[in-house]
């Protein structure tokens, strides 16, 4: 086989270990452009797995290609924010200048064009990935210039004329992405003293580190509001010879990009946080699960890990206590994802780290008891880890003085959509939605999507509500839609998103979401009746109740929350038919297929044959 040597090298680089399947596939795809059936066969032989298992992994992730691709693979972000920012004309421009449609590759083998879910650039939309490079603020004209430049130079670096703010201009990043930090709070984005928290933690017994965080009333920043300290206690209490600390940097929620900014500007704080938690629970191994969309940050993040190893903050014997005869060793590896929103779910993320399809696992057992490779595992997100050293450094009392009694600290918000100041805001917990909107310069705000696609859409009646765990909880996405936007179109896009991103493991999420979208589209087409509202409600309830993981528990929310908060939008489209006929049924349309099969028309129903 032609590339045998290369595939063998890639597999042996990861010790032919099938648990490193994602790394193996990335390395091979980076060289060959795609994973062919023959490649899968050889990988399977070398890693002692089966070809169909390798195929199962390749076909699960959107960024692994099982068909040949061009030298430059364009993934244009199709998120609703990008759509409203002019993504469709950009798509047309790509298609026109390349002479291909989405999903195709140019004849010269230079370009492939794909659409993809949110790539975390909603404050600088429309945006796209070209291989691992991010291009932002696209317009049809800019698109044409990009392609012309690439055709001439064949060099991605030539696309970036000016670098973004902050570390985006770092020589290992050199990206046009902007941080757009618009409000710095006391905890994360203000002035911080790197390693102060870790050094203080090292002076305390591990139990006291957990106790401090528990006393601070800190809740995980993923949106569910679960006490992080409780997870750590469970992991620390489970007998095992290894424990794992995993950082979830698979920020896939549409409209969210705050982790991207933390990874750019506060990566050391993140690694410090992971090390602090590792010390607290007695873990030796850390994994940063980085979404593939943020691959452009990988060399920079790797360099920081190396720096910390050189400084003695990662690696063997970071802390040796001769009197107590204890030694603490901890290191972090970066696991690159490959384009799957579901991997933001902690058990899916663990499956993915294990080199498998990113499908959720059954709970119980919970990861804190049996997680990565069966070992006790703590999974927290980027913002959570960044908070920890700050709490340990400044104390629980300082932390609880910020925010509300139930929700201590600050919250990073990614604000995007119809506003003049999209970007990152660090607010104390409990800020009202209205205050956020006014600071962001919201233009005629009508509907606000809180917490991304899996969150809820609220209207003006909720603008005085507080963003905190006890009122309106959010993982950080605030999408602003003006009165010019079609609310059902937004809900319909989110359903499209969930259908694309469902792993397909369980029936309700795999099938039910498709039905929900079709039901919504029937109403949008003006063919809905009052009974369709109940249909959507009942179906939504079945999906929420019977799905296996958080994706299915959330996916009907765009429809259910818009039905609840914007009932008039639905009511205006519904039709009542006193004769009992269904508006959604068109006999002529229904007969079309039969006419083709029978090769004749209907004597009863065709008008010119005497039908009605």
């Amino acid at each position: 086989m032609e590339h045998r040597k290369l595939i063998e090298t890639s597999c042996s680089h990861f010790n032919n270990d099938p648990r490193r399947m994602l790394d193996i596939l990335w390395q091979i795809q980076n060289s060959l452009g795609w994973i062919s059936p023959d490649t899968m066969e050889l990988i399977a032989q070398l890693t002692n797995t089966y070809r169909v298992e390798v195929e199962g992994v390749v076909t699960f992730y959107a960024f692994f290609m099982s068909k040949p691709q061009g030298q430059f693979v364009i993934h244009l972000c199709e998120d609703i924010i990008d759509r409203y920012a002019g993504m469709l004309p950009v798509q047309n421009a790509f298609e026109q200048i390349l002479g291909i449609k989405v999903g195709e590759t140019t004849k010269d083998g230079l370009f492939s064009l794909h659409l993809t879910s949110c790539i975390g650039m909603s404050d600088q939309a429309p945006a796209a990935l070209i291989n691992d490079m991010v291009v932002t603020n696209l317009s049809p004209n800019k698109t044409k210039i990009l392609i012309r430049t690439l055709k001439k130079t064949r060099n991605l670096a030539s696309l970036v004329k000016t670098f973004g703010d902050g570390n985006n201009s770092h020589e290992l990043i050199k990206s046009m992405v902007n941080n757009n930090i618009l409000l710095k709070g006391d905890v994360l984005l203000g002035d911080i003293n790197i390693n102060a928290g870790l050094n203080k933690a090292f002076s305390l017994p591990p139990e006291e580190v957990i106790a401090t965080v528990q006393a601070s009333n800190f809740k995980g920043r993923g949106g569910a509001g679960y006490s992080s300290a409780k997870k750590w206690l469970a992991a620390a209490a489970t007998q095992a010879d290894k424990r794992f600390v995993i950082c979830n940097a698979d920020e896939g929620e549409p409209g969210t990009f705050k982790d991207r900014v933390l990874l750019t500007e506060r990566a050391e704080l993140l690694f410090e946080g992971m090390t602090t938690v590792a010390y607290a629970i007695g873990s030796q191994h850390g994994i940063l699960y980085l979404r593939a969309e943020y691959r452009y940050l990988l060399p920079y993040l790797e360099s920081l890990l190396t720096k910390r190893r050189n400084e003695g903050l990662l690696g063997t014997d970071i802390l040796v206590d001769e009197t107590e005869n204890t030694r603490f060793s901890f290191d972090i590896r970066i696991q690159l994802g490959a384009g799957a929103y579901i991997c933001g779910e902690e058990t899916s993320l663990i499956s993915s780290c294990e080199g498998k399809r990113g499908e959720p696992k059954n709970k119980p057992p919970f990861p804190a008891v049996s997680g990565y490779l069966g070992y006790p595992t703590v999974v927290n997100n980027v913002e959570t880890f960044c908070n920890i050293p700050r709490i340990v450094d400044k104390g629980a009392e300082w932390f609880t003085s910020i925010g509300t009694p139930e929700s201590s600290g600050t919250k990073l918000l990614s604000v995007c959509g119809d506003c003049t100041r999209p970007g990152i805001y660090e607010f104390p917990m409990g800020i009202t939605l209205g205050e956020v909107l006014s600071l962001a310069g919201a233009k005629d705000p009508e509907a606000i999507q809180i917490g991304g696609a899996s969150g809820v859409m609220v209207g003006r009646a909720d603008f005085e509500r507080q963003l905190c765990f006890e009122d309106l909880p959010t993982a950080g996405a605030i999408m602003i839609f003006s009165s010019q936007r079609n609310i059902l179109e937004i809900a319909d896009y989110f359903m499209h998103f969930f259908i694309e991103e469902s792993c397909g493991y369980c029936t309700p999420c795999r099938v039910g979401n498709v039905f929900l979208k079709q039901g919504l589209e029937k109403i949008m087409a003006g063919k809905g009746e009052t009974s369709d509202l109940k249909y959507l409600q009942d179906l939504g309830k079945t999906i929420i109740q019977t799905s296996r993981c958080g994706l299915g528990h959330s996916s009907p929310k765009p429809i259910l929350s818009t039905m609840k908060n914007f009932p008039l939008v639905y009511a205006a489209l519904l039709k009542e038919h006193p004769d009992g006929r269904q508006a959604g049924f068109n006999i002529q349309h229904a007969l079309d297929e039969s006419r083709i099969i029978a090769k004749r028309r209907s004597i009863v129903f065709d008008p010119d044959l005497g039908g009605d």
Binding site: R357, S502, Y505, P508, R510, T542, Q545
Partner: protein, 272 residues
């Protein structure tokens, strides 16, 4: 896990004994309480994907096949709400694939069809039909795969991997495009064999895995679920008769000699 400690559960108000470490489904099976299921099959590792075995435990809906029975758990099983969910899930599976019972070889022994009858689903519902066009793989000399009838239960995957030690099947793709892939370009490329447990009638609950040359082996009226509804063998321990009707009749094949390598015990039984 299984320290065989006795625990007590309440299911629809009835108190039953179970062993700690058992799943809710196993605990109920042992007591003659049948919880409907499609992706679970005796002898295979439960995976909780079809969700038809949904029950409510202390207010949360969970899959009975994977949920450990916990002492004192209060389980809601045949309430209107739970039965409603189960019906919705069975309907979803019907509408996701192409299930044309009158022409299907599995009719009468199909668990999806039997489940619909058990729930009283006998006509089209409000769900749309997705009418997928999925390829049929008839490459193998003894086995055909009609993926249009597949409900993605994954029983063949687990049977091939865990019982046969072969990994003929695995899930590929994701979401609504998820399907069962085979370990090669087509089934004939794999080491699949008619005598694999994965290819037996116990494994595929629908008419996706087809054993060539032995279709429609039971006349209408004598098929597995013609008289006993699905689950009756669990509900009534004496009702094993339904299994007894599952008689395999091999058609006489002029090339019968090629069947010599088939497990003799099976063949002898069939021909007797």
């Amino acid at each position: 896990m299984s320290d065989n400690k006795k625990i007590t559960l309440t299911i629809d108000g009835k108190t039953i004994q179970a062993e700690s470490g058992q799943s809710i489904m196993n605990a109920c099976d042992a007591q003659g309480i049948y919880i409907p299921r499609l992706c679970d099959s005796t002898g295979l590792v439960p995976q909780g994907s079809c969700r038809v075995c949904s029950v409510k435990v202390n207010g949360r809906v969970v899959a009975a096949c994977t949920q450990p029975a916990e002492d004192g758990a209060n389980i809601e099983h045949e309430s209107d709400e739970i039965q409603g969910y189960r019906k919705d899930l069975v309907r979803m599976l019907f509408h996701e694939g192409n299930h044309l019972c009158p022409i299907c070889e599995a009719s009468g022994r199909c668990e999806l069809q039997a489940m619909a009858y058990r729930f009283g689903i006998s006509q089209a519902t409000t769900y749309p039909y997705l009418q997928p066009v999925r390829p049929v793989d008839a490459s193998h000399p003894d086995i055909a795969l009609d993926n249009n009838r597949c409900i993605l239960c994954g029983r063949c995957i687990r049977a091939s991997r865990d019982v046969d030690g072969k990994n003929v099947f695995e899930y590929v793709g994701r979401g609504i495009h998820k399907r069962i892939g085979v370990n090669g370009d087509c089934l004939a490329d794999t080491n699949a064999d008619l005598n694999d447990y994965a290819m037996s009638l116990e494994v595929c609950p629908v008419g996706c895995i087809i054993r060539k040359g032995e279709g429609f082996f039971s006349p209408v009226g004598e098929r597995q679920y013609d008289s006993d509804k699905i689950g009756s063998n669990i509900e009534n321990h004496t009702a094993h008769s339904s299994l007894g009707k599952l008689i395999k009749v091999h058609q006489i094949d002029p090339n019968d000699a090629i069947h010599d390598d088939i497990d003799q015990s099976n063949v002898n039984e069939d021909k007797s």
